[in-house]
């Protein structure tokens, strides 16, 4: 490792580490706002119904109850895309849809009050999947979304938001193809990102029109923007973020809770805490979107894609917050990983009577890719092309470009990731382990081993805006004002490293304010993989600006122009004369602070990349699949924090990644609409007892991002794995699979098909 930097790339403890290991870190659940009431939600037992009558008189009469709200007495606040999610609605659209809200002096009293509310429903037919929702004459979830298809696009990404891909001429492309394959694949197990701390919010309303919200979120300022719009832009919103106990993107789905807690606080004139139980989290909160892709792909013998056409159907459940945005980003990401001159990809976002799908690590691209790759695999198999060579060849390279989420074309100016992919293949032993399509790597009786590979990349590393302030104090200390909260990546600590590096201060003399929109500037927050480049740029610029002001001020004192000055450890001196100069205190005087402002503007010309290789062993007697080995390969430009990066890459398994291809799924009963596995025993998760061998190969080829030449890769670590697993299991069994997750039932059914086919062949 180079010694070019004092902190960048060096292992440094996370800033919040002492709090985390001593139990003094404050998570949402540890928050107490004086006078706070506790809220509970009465939920619908029906998947689709009209609420015809609610009697809350007995609940209101219960001692300790301070507010009871129904759809008849809540404000007309609305969120979603389109704005179809209300505080409470007179129609319920999934089992678990809120019907009434109670705020009381304790959770127990609130819970008791729920039991005293009588509701009458008029039942409606329900649609539980894409086929039912899109069928002729299907029941409509929303009057203004005919056919249960939501309006495409999101205003957030501008008037030309990508809603599909229409590039080049697919007919001409197919004419050039040497093989054409049509197929279908689905990634619709609805895994729950399931952060360990369940979602929640505390709202404190102040008359006439102000609310303070303590959120369980990593991006307080972005939330403020969304909430402000939901409140019809008529409420003064202040949001305060904090350690959110995991998110994986999903905590952004808290918007309805936020509206509900605010309405209750307004009614009760007290702060109100609304936190979900784990059962509610599993049965009535955000899941991954359900995706089904039908596509036709054209390929040449040399591995060049000539055309891709098809349809991507997205099941968003009972409402959409950002599903159209995921479609836009997914369409962009497809072009990053699959260079193809001719596309005709159409999309539809469809509502169904189940809990909503929403934001999860992967954000559209993971889903689309997970479906396209199994279809493409069949074309590759026909030409006997190695998938590693194919993915390596077709990943975006300098000089290429893509249409991004806003519908505009961007020329790619980032790294060529071929060396990282090669290093990954080498570390995995891909050349030795790959035996050809639908061929196992090893067979040992009923145990069959197979390998697979996937790739993903995201341009969101430079999305949207970040701002930061850096304040210098004469005591030789600096403070970073940022709207980022810790959600697991260590990004706040990394920003401190960057600021300390620019100012050459001891790391412990740089501190971070809490994210609070009354204090900290706008930031979209640590989402996607934007923390390193977008947020880092804002923090760096703020520190540079503060440094510039300091040196300008010092110029008079030290009798030298600012360009000939430098600062280190709270002193300013002439270049190379560290023994001379003056302390910041002498330069600034005791009664001055210096404030630098930094702003990052969106940049869609860089992309990250993650290639994942997996080896699985399938037991054809039990149908069980064991993940044996994983190798992730990437190029981070420059590593900021080695341990944090490693942790993020290991995250390729759980909450949002590989395990969504193996066993994670939300099981919904097809007749009642109920989630059947809404507890942590029946919802399967990876334990310490089942860990594959894990290896992360990270190159550091400086990239033209900010002064530390780094880009983020955290989010995308989950994205390539699922398709790689499906490929590996298909190869182990010798049967192409096109549906996630590969549960034992599916494996056994596929194996039986293969055996039957073999037997058929033998008797012929």
């Amino acid at each position: 490792m180079s010694d070019e930097y004092r902190y960048i790339g060096k292992p440094t403890p996370r800033r919040d580490a002492p709090q985390i290991v001593t139990g003094s870190a404050t998570f949402f659940g540890d928050l107490v706002v004086p006078g706070m009431l506790h809220a509970k939600v009465l939920r619908s037992p029906h998947p689709h119904a009209l609420v015809t009558e609610i009697d809350v008189a007995r609940a209101r009469g219960l001692s300790g109850v301070k507010a009871v709200l129904t759809h008849a007495d809540v404000p007309d606040w609305r969120a979603g895309t389109p704005r179809h999610l209300r505080v409470l609605d007179s129609t319920v659209r999934y089992v678990g849809d809120p019907v009434a809200l109670v705020a009381a002096t304790s959770e127990a009293v609130a819970e008791e009050a729920l039991g005293l509310i009588d509701v009458s429903y008029e039942l409606l037919p329900a649609v539980f999947d894409l086929d039912e929702a899109l069928a002729e004459g299907a029941v409509q979830l929303y009057a203004d979304s005919p056919g249960n298809v939501l309006r495409p696009g999101t205003r957030w990404f501008g008037p030309d938001c990508l809603t599909g891909l229409a590039i080049g001429d697919v007919e001409a492309g197919f004419a050039e193809a040497e093989v054409i394959v049509e197929g279908e694949a689905s990634y619709a197990g609805l895994p729950n990102p399931l952060p360990p701390e369940s979602p929640g919010v505390v709202a404190q309303w102040e008359e006439p029109d102000r609310v303070t919200l303590w959120l369980s979120t990593q991006a307080a300022h972005q939330e403020k923007m969304i909430i402000h719009a939901a409140f019809g832009r008529a409420v003064d919103v202040r949001t305060i973020g904090g350690a959110c106990g995991g998110s994986y993107g999903s905590k952004f789905m808290s918007i309805q809770l936020i509206m509900q807690a605010t309405a209750l606080s307004r009614a009760a004139r007290r702060p109100v805490r609304l936190g979900l139980t784990k059962e509610e989290h599993l049965a009535a909160f955000g899941l991954r979107i359900g995706s089904r892709v039908r596509a036709k792909v054209g390929l040449r013998r040399d591995g060049a894609l000539t055309a891709i056409s098809g349809e991507w159907l997205v099941d968003t459940g009972h409402y959409s917050l950002t599903t159209q945005a995921q479609v836009a980003v997914g369409c962009g990401e497809a072009q990053v990983a699959l260079r193809c001159p001719n596309w005709d990809l159409r999309t539809k976002v469809v509502c169904t009577n189940r809990p909503a799908s929403g934001i999860v690590r992967g954000f559209g691209g993971q889903e689309l890719k997970a479906c396209l790759l199994p279809i493409l695999s069949r074309a590759l198999a026909e030409l006997d092309l190695d998938p590693f060579d194919f993915l390596r060849r077709n990943y975006v390279k300098p000089g290429d470009g893509y249409f991004w989420r806003d519908g505009r074309w961007y020329d790619y100016r980032g790294n060529d990731y071929t060396p990282a992919m090669d290093a990954g293949a080498e570390a995995f032993g891909w050349r030795e382990r790959w035996k050809g399509w639908l061929r196992p790597t090893e067979v040992d009786g009923p145990l069959r081993t197979g390998v697979g590979v996937g790739v993903h990349g995201n341009v969101d590393i430079g999305e949207s805006v970040s701002e930061a302030y850096v304040r210098l104090d004469p005591e030789g200390r600096a403070t970073l004002y940022s709207s980022a909260s810790e959600h697991g990546t260590g990004q706040p600590s990394n920003l401190l490293k960057m600021v300390a590096e620019v100012l050459q201060l001891p790391l412990e003399r740089v501190t971070l304010t809490a994210a609070d929109t009354a204090v900290t500037p706008y930031d979209m927050g640590p989402v996607g993989s934007r923390g390193t480049y977008a947020m880092g740029s804002a923090a760096i610029k703020a520190a540079e600006e503060a440094r510039r002001q300091l040196l300008t001020l010092a110029a008079a004192n030290l009798d030298a122009p600012p360009e000939e000055l430098e600062t280190r450890d709270g002193r300013v001196f002439r270049l190379g004369r560290a023994d001379s100069g003056a302390a910041w205190m002498a330069i600034m005087g005791p009664e001055r602070t210096i404030m630098g402002h930094g702003r990052f503007e969106p940049d869609f010309t860089l992309a990250n990349c993650m290639m994942t290789f997996v080896e699985v062993r399938v037991d054809t007697e039990t149908g069980g699949t064991e993940l044996l080995r994983v190798v992730n390969a990437t190029d981070a430009g420059r590593i900021i924090d080695p341990a944090g990066l490693e942790n993020q890459l290991n995250g390729c398994l759980g909450s949002a990644g590989i395990d969504t291809a193996l066993f994670e799924e939300t099981i919904i009963d097809r007749t009642t609409g109920r989630v059947l596995n809404a507890n942590l025993i029946d919802y399967k998760w990876r334990t310490f007892a089942h860990l594959p061998q894990m290896r992360n190969v990270v190159l550091e080829t400086p990239v033209d991002s900010h002064r530390f030449h780094a880009i983020g890769v955290g989010e995308v670590s989950t994205a390539p794995g699922p398709a790689a697993v499906l490929m590996a299991v298909s190869n182990a069994l010798g049967v192409p699979l096109a549906e996630y997750p590969v549960t034992p039932e599916k494996v056994l059914a596929a194996w039986k098909r293969a055996m039957d086919a073999q037997a058929g062949e033998a008797t012929r």
């Binding site: 996370r14 341990a643 993020q648 990876r686 310490f688």
Partner: protein, 183 residues
């Protein structure tokens, strides 16, 4: 909820070396009969380091030591804990000097957390293991932690951190009085 108003009794808990006498029932109740140990630790005693995730005995977040054994505090009723000696994550560091337990320090050194929500439970499960078996193999550690949910996938760094603490402990252990003798 305690319906037998007026009828009170007391539960004595020793938590992190400190004794607490809690009243059950009556107008000044500290504890309801329905309260779990996790609830009492967090809400009554203010020891919020113990985390609750599932509240149903399925995730290990709420693990504490009861008489040196790892127990799920969400699955014990406080009224059943009378006379028990409990250690929470707040009790791992030295109460006088504040010096961190070697496990805690090792978790810091190895960044053995991401969101950090599962960390107190994992620390307590690991501590319970090391009290019983100061020289566990990696497989022993995996087994001991297999009931602890870590959604961020910090498992690998946790295993490194525990193993490093074990090795450091082995290096500094004075053989005769090391805890191994208790097995």
């Amino acid at each position: 909820m305690d319906r037998r108003r007026g009828e009170t009794r007391q539960v004595r808990l020793r938590v992190n070396g400190q004794d607490h006498v809690l009243t059950v029932g009556g107008p000044a109740a500290d504890v309801a009969v329905t309260h779990t140990l996790a609830h009492t630790l967090r809400e009554t005693l203010g020891l919020t380091g113990t985390k609750v995730s599932c509240d149903r005995g399925a995730c290990g977040s709420c693990t504490v030591l009861v008489g040196g054994e790892a127990k799920l505090s969400c699955s014990m009723l406080t009224v059943e804990c009378d006379g028990l000696d409990i250690t929470t994550v707040e009790g791992l560091a030295d109460p006088v000097t504040g010096a961190l337990d070697p496990l805690q320090q090792s978790f810091i050194d190895h960044t053995a957390f991401q969101c950090g929500y599962c960390t107190p439970g994992i620390l307590m499960s690991a501590k319970a293991l090391l009290l019983k078996n100061p020289r566990p193999t990696q497989a022993d550690v995996q087994e001991a932690l297999s009931g602890n949910f870590c959604r961020c996938i910090t498992h690998y760094h946790v295993l490194e951190a525990v193993q490093a603490a074990v090795e450091a402990g082995a290096a500094s252990a004075t053989a005769p009085d090391s805890r191994r003798a208790r097995r």
